[in-house]
């Protein structure tokens, strides 16, 4: 197991958004997280790198690193957690005052304090890998949404995270741009990158995920291999949700 999450709780004021979520992600696996709007998918992902501070729950990593949110973790522990994962946002959140290349270099240079020349070589490779070799000196506002999101992926990969987190990475994109981002993600999965992906792209989940988790009302209703969850779900709520997504009207 790269990471096991146990009994994760998160509330905003009176609103209990996550009510005891357990999940194990084996190294190299892709977990797809699906569920209706407002079910807590984003919150779950944000808890995984402490952008939201869980009220309760533990994370344990394969290297022995453990975080127990019941006793509020120290700053250094939070930083350590964040440096283990990379996040790709729905709205890209690129740094607008930096070029694509500078966006990608920022983490390794500033956070990991690596040598600039070495980082540059690696960052250029990453941008090539996401198909942006020609665009690396452009600023975010000079790029299309799909290109920006691919820079976002490269930026997250640059810190060599053990776990990549994606929050609906394609839902802000025009339909014709979705494919280019998904194909980068497929490539990553093939290379054995561990990923947790919140997505509405069921086809993608079916093809790429090793594990699908259906979340509703802040609890995992059902989880298992994609063919099981997406093709023959046991729970009524899962069936209902899949029905609505597959036959919208």
């Amino acid at each position: 197991m790269l990471i096991s999450v146990k009994n994760l709780h998160k509330s905003f004021g009176d609103l209990d958004v996550l009510r005891g979520v357990d999940l194990e992600i084996p190294k190299g696996n892709v977990v797809a997280i699906i569920g209706p709007s407002g079910s807590g998918k984003t919150t779950f992902l944000r808890c995984l790198n402490a952008l939201e501070m869980p009220n309760k729950g533990t994370f344990s990593f394969s290297d022995g690193f453990e975080l127990d949110f019941a006793r509020s973790p120290k700053k250094e522990e939070i930083l350590k957690l964040r440096r283990k994962s990379g996040m790709v946002f729905q709205s890209y959140n690129l740094f607008p005052h930096k070029t694509a290349l500078e966006n990608v270099m920022e983490g390794p240079v500033i956070v990991q304090r690596k040598k600039k020349e070495e980082v540059r070589v690696k960052a250029e490779e990453l941008l090539k890998k996401v198909g942006l070799a020609e665009k690396m000196h452009l600023y975010p506002h000079q790029l299309s949404g799909g290109q920006q999101q691919r820079v976002g992926i490269a930026r997250a990969l640059a810190i060599e995270p053990e776990l990549m987190l994606f929050d609906e990475p394609t839902s802000a994109l025009d339909p014709e741009l979705v494919g280019e981002v998904l194909s980068v993600m497929r490539e990553l999965a093939k290379e054995g990158q561990t990923m947790a992906v919140v997505t509405h792209e069921l086809k993608f989940a079916e093809d790429v995920a090793d594990h699908v988790m259906f979340i509703d009302g802040g609890v995992i209703v059902e989880q298992g291999p994609p063919e099981e969850i997406l093709k023959s779900p046991k729970e009524a709520r899962t069936k209902q949700f899949l029905d609505r997504v597959l036959n919208p009207s």
Binding site: N49, L51, L79, R82, R83, S85, G86, M87, F89, S91, N93, L94, F95, P96, H97, E106, G107, I110, V111, Q112, Y139, P140, H141, R155, A156, A158, I159
Partner: protein
């Protein structure tokens, strides 16, 4: 009746409307006052004021209630009192506390104007920091940056772009406000015009000349402002 009054005016002001000799001879001392006092006073006060403003803005958005409280009181006190009164307190008032508090006019003015810029600009800087989307903080955090790294490398550069237009306005206001320092004996541009007017009684012409000089300075500054804004255009999140 009105006609008689008008006639009288014309007779009493028989002198030419613009006394060019006086104009040219008054320019020298006024420009000298500008270069020796108005401009240094503006630059020093603005630089010190900006440092105070950034610290105050950071204190106001910090999670520490005490820091935020102190910053709030400071901003409120400065914004709630007239600049002229602040100048008088520092220059004429503080000496009552003892000889250690007797300051020359120029440093007194620097202190008052710095505190003033600090308070007003802190509000501008605070608002521009808050205007940077929350996602920018989060993007910094997710690549492992600390609060400080994110603030200095990601947030402040973007906030700077947002704050340039209002800060330039503060700067231009400051140039004009320094004329108040004439009231605490700083021999700056406006005080020079007052001194000459006291001798020649050509109040209108001399004060108009002073106004013209301020206008020229501010005009040049607004051109520079436009240039800087253009250059910083790419710093905005779109």
């Amino acid at each position: 009746m009105a006609k008689m009054f008008l006639n009288e005016l014309i007779i009493n002001n028989a002198a030419p409307i613009v006394d060019w000799d006086l104009f040219w001879s008054s320019l020298g001392p006024m420009i000298e006052g500008g270069i020796k006092n108005t401009i240094p006073l503006t630059l020093i006060s603005f630089a010190c004021g900006l440092v105070i403003a950034v610290l105050t803005a950071l204190a106001r958005i910090s999670t520490s209630k005490i820091l935020a409280g102190i910053a709030r009181v400071y901003v409120s006190a400065i914004r709630g009192t007239p600049l002229l009164v602040q100048l008088f307190i520092i220059f004429y008032g503080l000496p009552n506390l003892g000889n250690a508090f007797v300051l020359d006019p120029f440093p007194s003015a620097c202190i008052a104007f710095s505190l003033n810029v600090g308070a007003y600009a802190s509000e501008i800087i605070r608002a521009s920091i808050l205007s940077v989307p929350k996602g920018q903080w989060e993007a910094g955090y997710t690549i492992g940056m600390t609060y400080r790294q994110t603030l200095f490398r990601i947030i402040l550069p973007q906030a700077t772009r947002v704050s340039i237009p209002p800060l330039s306005n503060s700067f231009i206001s400051l140039v004009k406000d320094t004329s108040l320092a004439s009231q605490i004996l700083v021999v700056e541009l406006f005080r020079r015009s007052q001194e000459i007017a006291a001798r020649t009684y050509d109040f209108l012409q001399l004060y108009l000349t002073a106004a013209l000089l301020y206008w020229i300075i501010c005009f040049i500054l607004s051109i520079i402002q436009g240039r800087i804004e253009k250059r910083l255009d790419r710093y905005v999140a779109k």
